[in-house]
């Protein structure tokens, strides 16, 4: 096995353990692939061999965030500072000031929420070339419960001037996004998840930061999604297609800067937008798309997200169902929004 290879064991975390529950992307005929954190960790480890400026700064969760293979390959370039997220982020700011490319990873909630002021002052304001990576994002982490769920991270990251925010949907998208944020000069936030997700880009991916990917075209409405909800959007589109309605599906992997042209075109050409994301209602992709559409081409919109609540412990599939992050909810939202055209 190559040094950088990581594989979350089948059934680990139980995201799709419940055989009775379909996984997001199943209706669309997608097969389960790697967890996005695994794809991130592998790609980081590979890039580490090519880019000597890359260093990691961790806070005792490198085996969870998947920076560990990099750290094992490059021990002199990996700094585990203990459970001290504030320190971790500011150290990365100093390393970046000296020309390093620090990759700073923790659970999304601990990184963004615990060290937000350090991200503001040690990274965003001085425009440091720091690569923030939040793993275990969303409610689909499951049993560990709400204290470990990063569901306000995208809003926090997007609030910071100059920070590029990326929420990839599958393993291939994550690998491409990891390369892109390392290439990008400036602070970035990359959000990855814990459990296995459906493979969307089995035939390769053309990835560009800030450029939405059109996965399906149609004029009935547009579903704009990111993260694991892209697979749900494809399910919904498949269901609606059987009813004779073609919907456009956009993978809006970059939340900031959002692809304004793609949002405006979706609004003008399809007349209705549904946004689907694994994040709180306020401040995430839904807010960003709504602001964009409101300014450029206002159309009826609906939102499928976690809402304005904290979730709970439970199996991931059950949680996604209970908190409304399903393909069915997206289908319902499309029906509602088309009715408002």
């Amino acid at each position: 096995m190559p040094a950088c290879s990581i594989e979350t064991p089948a059934g680990f975390g139980g995201l799709f353990r419940r055989k009775t529950t379909m996984y997001l992307g199943e209706t669309a005929g997608l097969t389960l692939g790697k967890a996005t954190r695994d794809a991130f960790g592998e790609t980081l480890c590979e890039l580490g061999g090519k880019r000597p400026e890359i260093v990691t700064v961790d806070a005792d969760v490198g085996n969870s965030t998947r920076t560990e293979p990099f750290a094992l390959e490059h021990p002199g370039r990996a700094f585990n500072v203990g459970i001290a997220e504030s320190n971790m982020v500011s150290i990365a700011g100093g390393l970046a000031a000296c020309g390093k490319i620090p990759v700073v990873a923790s659970f999304a909630c601990f990184l963004l929420d615990n060290a937000f002021d350090q991200i503001r002052m040690s990274v965003a304001f001085p425009e440091m070339n720091v690569k923030l990576v939040g793993s275990h994002a969303g409610i689909s982490i499951g049993e560990d419960g709400p204290s470990q769920m990063g569901i306000e991270d995208v809003a926090l990251a997007c609030s910071l001037p100059g920070v590029t925010v990326v929420v990839p949907s599958d393993a291939a998208c994550t690998a491409a996004a990891t390369r892109a944020v390392i290439e990008h000069q400036g602070p970035t936030y990359l959000r990855v998840g814990r459990g296995k997700v459906a493979d969307i880009y089995t035939d390769g991916i053309e990835f560009e930061l800030g450029k939405a990917i059109t996965l399906r075209d149609g004029g009935h409405a547009t579903i704009i999604a990111n993260g694991l909800m892209v697979a749900g959007a494809l399910d919904a589109a498949a269901t609606l297609a059987e009813e004779g309605h073609d919907v456009r599906v956009l993978d809006m992997h970059t939340v900031k800067p959002v692809d304004e042209a793609a949002v405006a075109a979706a609004a003008r050409e399809t007349g209705a937008i549904v946004v689907a994301e694994e994040h709180l209602h306020h401040g995430g992709l839904g807010s960003v798309v709504a602001q964009t559409a409101a300014a450029l081409a206002p159309v009826p919109m609906e939102f499928v997200d976690v809402g304005d609540v904290y979730a709970e412990s439970g199996d991931p599939a059950g949680l996604l169902e209970k908190y409304g992050l399903t393909s069915e909810r997206i289908v319902e939202a499309v029906r509602r929004v088309v009715g408002r055209k």
Partner: protein, 278 residues
């Protein structure tokens, strides 16, 4: 590396810098002169005592020594020292805090060459310094990193995260100077959050610690020299200072020996300048 001044010259330089601090904050109508005055002797020694290697004409030189003012509100002392060192002019820093001026109320590295970190949210500078020190070690760059913190600032948990991490990595190229002036914003540190045996605490984190009178140039110079000679562990200097040192008789007339975060009114500024000239 600028030529090292002798003790008498250093004291005179510190006096000039103190005058600039008073002038630019009174001109600005706001700012933190007393927080700057307590730190003046240490900052003067760093820039003019032959400790820091730097070149105002090449502020991004990868081999330069770094000074990070973690207690960023004391930037009048930094701007004044850097003006004296030739990074910019006295006229420049007279624009302190004015709209359009890069000499902002707290240091902004994006706008000023030679500023190593954008500070102002207390607690982060030592961690940033660790980043510089780790990078310097990786690159065999040979530079030394100096970070100045406030004593009130040491209430921030992140400062102690940083003390612990610097010990883990045995950063002999890192020196923290704590401006132990005994006051923070709302009163004496002992009343707001008692630091207890600060030197002992830092020492227990694995640091080499010296405690000095940070307003006596002889002691400052000796301590910085000793810190530079310690190669296998990070070094701290607990600099016992007086907030507003240099103009204490003038401050005494106000009944406020903290005099935190406000400039001297014109009449007091004149008295202070006269006192410093006398």
């Amino acid at each position: 590396m600028p030529k090292a001044l002798n003790l008498a010259e250093l004291k005179a330089k510190a006096n000039e810098i103190r005058k600039l601090i008073i002038r630019i904050t009174t001109e600005a109508g706001s700012g933190h002169p007393t927080s700057s005055l307590s730190a003046t002797d240490v900052v003067t020694a760093l820039y003019f005592g032959g400790f820091m290697k730097y070149d105002p004409a090449n502020p991004k030189d990868p081999g330069r020594d770094r000074f990070i003012l973690s207690k960023g509100h004391a930037c009048p002392v930094l701007y004044s020292a850097m003006a004296e060192a030739g990074y910019f002019s006295v006229d420049d820093i007279m624009t302190l805090r004015k709209l359009g001026s890069p000499w902002e109320g707290h240091p902004n590295m994006k706008r000023l060459p030679g500023i190593e970190a954008s500070t102002g949210s207390l607690g982060q500078g030592l961690s940033i310094g660790i980043g510089h020190a780790l990078a310097g070690r990786m690159d065999n760059a040979g530079y030394h990193v100096y970070v100045m913190l406030g004593d009130g600032e040491s209430g921030e948990g992140q400062v102690w995260e940083a003390f612990a991490a610097a010990d883990k990595y045995k950063l002999g190229n890192l020196t923290a100077i704590i401006d132990r002036n005994g006051y923070q914003q709302t009163g004496a540190t002992e009343d707001v959050l008692d630091l207890g045996d600060l030197a002992g605490k830092i020492n227990s984190f694995g640091w080499h610690v010296q405690t000095i009178d940070g307003n006596q140039m002889e002691e400052v110079v000796d301590a910085l020299g000793a810190a530079r000679d310690v190669k296998d562990q990070p070094t701290a200097i607990v600099a016992n200072t007086r907030k507003g040192y240099g103009i204490l008789p003038v401050l005494e007339t106000t009944g406020d020996l903290n005099f935190h975060g406000k400039p001297l009114p014109e009449d007091l500024a004149e008295k202070a300048l006269a006192h410093l000239s006398g």
